[in-house]
């Protein structure tokens, strides 16, 4: 009983803490200097309709590289700790008929939607990270529906390696072609026509690499969670 009272006390305290933030929140009419630079620069310099992608991939590209590295380390850690108990290979329960039939129809569509999200990251909302995770969720659906479904870990590792190396190589190409302070600058590839798929320099390439990498990592993570330790 005392536990529930404490929970509600903490909730009320949090509400009291955050209430001023909610009440005083307003949407500013004018952007400050930095934001204005980002918003107008993404249209003028980079020829990119989606300003969020311009910030994530170009202006804050180094942070994104770090983020990809952190994700890689996290999935590598999970894989390392789960792979040690290989002898616990369990019997998998087959999915129901509804799940099987549904996954046959839905999984290809979800994969194509994921590819759409990361290839159109510079035009529409989304990008490499959501696209990769959406792709991984399609693989999860297949994994749950079919008891014999498994990935070739060689292909997954190959995709991951090629994407990671490709991302860094694109950054270094900017460094070589444009000058010293242009690491991860996508403008070495032509800017193209406004709003087309092949525009905004190397951004579609970068986001495709990130999407493939995230998708491969997440699918590998789910597969190693699935194939390990299920002994019921």
């Amino acid at each position: 009983m005392i536990k529930y009272i404490l929970i509600f006390l903490v909730l009320i305290g949090m509400a009291w803490l955050f209430f001023p933030l909610v009440v005083e929140f307003f949407t500013p009419d004018i952007t400050n200097n930095l934001a204005a630079n980002y918003v107008f620069g993404s249209a003028a310099d980079l020829n990119m309709p989606n300003a969020v992608t311009a910030v994530v991939v170009t202006y804050r590209g180094l942070d994104t590289l770090g983020e990809v590295t952190v994700l890689f380390l996290a999935t590598a850690g999970v894989g390392f700790f789960l792979k040690r108990k290989k002898h616990m290979e369990g019997i998998r329960r087959p999915g129901s008929e509804i799940l099987k039939t549904g996954s046959e129809i839905l999984a290809p569509l979800i994969i194509i939607f994921g590819i759409y999200i990361f290839t159109h990251g510079h035009l529409t909302p989304g990008g490499g990270f959501p696209g990769g995770v959406v792709m991984a969720s399609a693989f999860l659906l297949l994994l749950m529906a079919n008891e014999n479904f498994g990935f070739s870990h060689g292909i997954i590792n190959l995709t991951e390696t090629i994407s990671g190396i490709g991302y860094v190589l694109i950054g270094i190409t900017g460094l070589v072609l444009l000058g010293l302070n242009h690491f991860l600058d996508p403008r070495w590839l032509g800017l193209g026509q406004w709003g087309r798929l092949f525009s905004a320099g190397a951004v579609p390439l970068i986001y495709s690499f990130i999407g493939l990498k995230v998708g491969a990592e997440m699918s590998g993570l789910l597969d190693s969670l699935q194939s390990d330790g299920g002994e019921q």
């Binding site: 929970i7 909302p125 995770v133 969720s137 299920g230």
Partner: protein
């Protein structure tokens, strides 16, 4: 105005789900209701004009995290004698 009412409704549902996740006895109920919290958060993000964050939250928060927790629960149950259900 209608948007505000919808946001208040969604926040109320996610509050109820969060409290339920803490007070419930079965671990699987807690996992499902924390997935509900993420789903409500993703709809809220969509309403405040952040579709990319909403997409990520729906896929990671309510999709993959729930499944990873379910797998973790399976592992824990495999090692202990399943006593909490």
């Amino acid at each position: 105005m209608a948007e505000n009412i919808l946001i208040i409704v969604l926040s109320t549902i996610s509050l109820i789900a969060a409290v339920f996740a803490v007070v419930t006895k079965k671990t699987i109920n807690a996992i499902i209701s924390s997935g509900v919290v993420s789903l409500m958060a993703s709809i809220t993000f969509l309403l405040v004009a952040a579709p990319d964050v909403a997409m990520t939250e729906a896929a990671i928060g309510s999709g993959l995290t729930t499944v990873v927790f379910l797998y973790a629960l399976k592992h824990v149950r495999g090692q202990r004698s399943s006593r909490d259900d």
